[in-house]
Amino acid sequence: MHIQIDQIAKSFGATSALHPVSLSIPQGALVALLGPSGSGKTTLLRILGGLEFPTSGRVMFDGQDATNMSVQDRRAGFVFQSYALFRHMTVFDNIAYGLRARPRATRPAAAEIARQVTRLLDLIQLPDTGSRFPTQLSGGQRQRVALARALAIQPRMLLLDEPFGALDAKVRKELRQGLRDIHDETGLTSIFVTHDQDEAMELADMVVVMSMGRIEQVGTPAQIRQTPATAFVKDFIAA
């Protein structure tokens, strides 16, 4: 899906988290929103997912105005920073949640839900964990379950908030490749938030550098590395 962000601004009371920003994300891209904490990257992601609404500006999905579309109607697969798995449900029930939440007319039968959940468990390479609870999984496994749960609703885009933030360095490297593979396989437009420039440069097709609620530069990792547009970008990627 092609995403167009048109002069989006967001303020919480007197503080503005986003000054008007505009951005065009082509169909099927893997995009990193890169910046230090407080740069507005998570706010932008949450606006795309429908968890926050902008103070002004428009969001377009495939050319259609989606600014006021409800979070449920957006069908954005969202992976939360601490995964937000349902702690009282098994892995199977977590992944099946979105399918079971559909209106009766479009809800798949139990057997079809089971088939899809099993397929997703294979995709994230965690077969046979369906009956476990989130607390019985490692951090990396939880992250993959969160990804499978988001993919189960056949999302129109994938939004990930610091997907590797809570993991140690070794697992992080493995899962980066895992996300790249899943992106390439599904072809979903995917946007992830990170403060780690290595992660952004290594994984993304397109990097959006943000600071203080503004977009500093948009480009491929090579462009940003070779010709940083502002002093901030130069400093940030040198760090």
């Binding site: 968890l51 939360f80 937000a84 702690r87 009282h88 939440a101 607390t135 988001a150």
Partner: protein
């Protein structure tokens, strides 16, 4: 002492000296015995002073049965109401950001700090026959004061904080992420509440409800003011106990007191039993 028999055992800095430990244990057990166990024993022994027959006969009298029925009815109405109010208040406070949140939390605690008698008086002033609102209600055939609705109001007011107080810290700790995740997966607000919020708070809700039940059955001060103490009509169990005691009917008074105590003990036993039985599930929802 143990340092000689176990020379390798290290003493932790936080360990108290044996003397201090003995004194603390003594104070705790002595206090429990004096303030909790002895009164319980006295109540039961006084109730059975003239044997089981006399105790049961006094409980079977018309007024006693009416008091028991009334207390159970009040509890059955007040507790569900407060469970719903408590969930709504805790939800509102923890899931939304707004000005005056601290003030609202203080307001929820108000029934804990206000004397129940004052609460009862407020209800009399608001709904009594001398007030405008009360006059209209009495004229319409729905008296509040000196009738069951007033007792329900008084009980609901006094027991209001129990459920909300249990839920607020749990819901604050759990945050909003799971609910947000459910929304992005397409669930409606109501579905999120029943499938994510409610299962996550079910233990705190149960505790709050049980404490609320015990307190609702035993409420005296506020009910004494609003009920008018009409025997066989508006006298609840605690009120009846006081009236019987003042009339020197000690077997009847203590039998009723014993029954009220047993009802409270049943709720506490229920809570402990559930805790033991679901220890694993409790641990699983608390970790994470």
């Amino acid at each position: 002492m143990s340092d000689i028999s176990h020379p390798t055992r290290f003493r932790r800095a936080s360990d108290d000296s044996p003397v201090a430990r003995l004194i603390l244990i003594g104070i705790a057990l002595g206090g429990l015995g004096l303030l909790v166990a002895m009164p319980l024993l006295v109540v039961l022994s006084q109730a059975l002073a003239e044997g089981w027959g006399a105790a049961l006969t006094s409980l079977a009298s018309h007024d006693a049965r009416s008091a028991i029925r009334l207390t159970l009815l009040i509890t059955a109405i007040a507790v569900p109401l407060n469970a719903v109010f408590g969930i709504a208040a805790a939800w509102f406070i923890t899931k939304f950001d707004f000005r005056g949140k601290a003030f609202l939390i203080t307001l929820i605690d108000l029934p804990f700090s206000i004397s129940p008698v004052v609460a009862g008086l407020c209800i009399v002033l608001l709904f009594g026959a001398n007030s405008t609102l009360g006059g209209l209600l009495v004229a319409g055939g729905y008296p509040v004061v000196f009738a069951v609705p007033g007792i329900i109001l008084a009980t609901v007011f006094v027991t209001f904080p129990f459920v909300a107080r249990e839920l607020i810290p749990v819901m604050v700790e759990q945050g909003r992420a799971e609910e947000e995740a459910a929304l992005t997966l397409g669930a409606s607000g109501w579905r999120v509440f029943t499938t994510v919020t409610l299962p996550n708070i079910r233990w705190a809700l149960l505790y709050g409800t049980l404490l609320c039940t015990a307190r609702a059955m035993g409420e005296f001060g506020a009910v004494a003011v609003v009920s008018g103490k009409i025997r066989g009509q508006t006298a609840t169990m605690p009120i009846t106990i006081e009236m019987l005691y003042n009339e020197y009917l000690s077997v009847a008074a203590f039998s009723m007191a014993g029954l009220l105590t047993c009802l409270a003990l049943i709720t506490l036993t229920l809570k402990t039993g559930l805790e033991l039985r679901h220890a694993d599930a409790l641990a699983a929802t608390r970790r994470h």
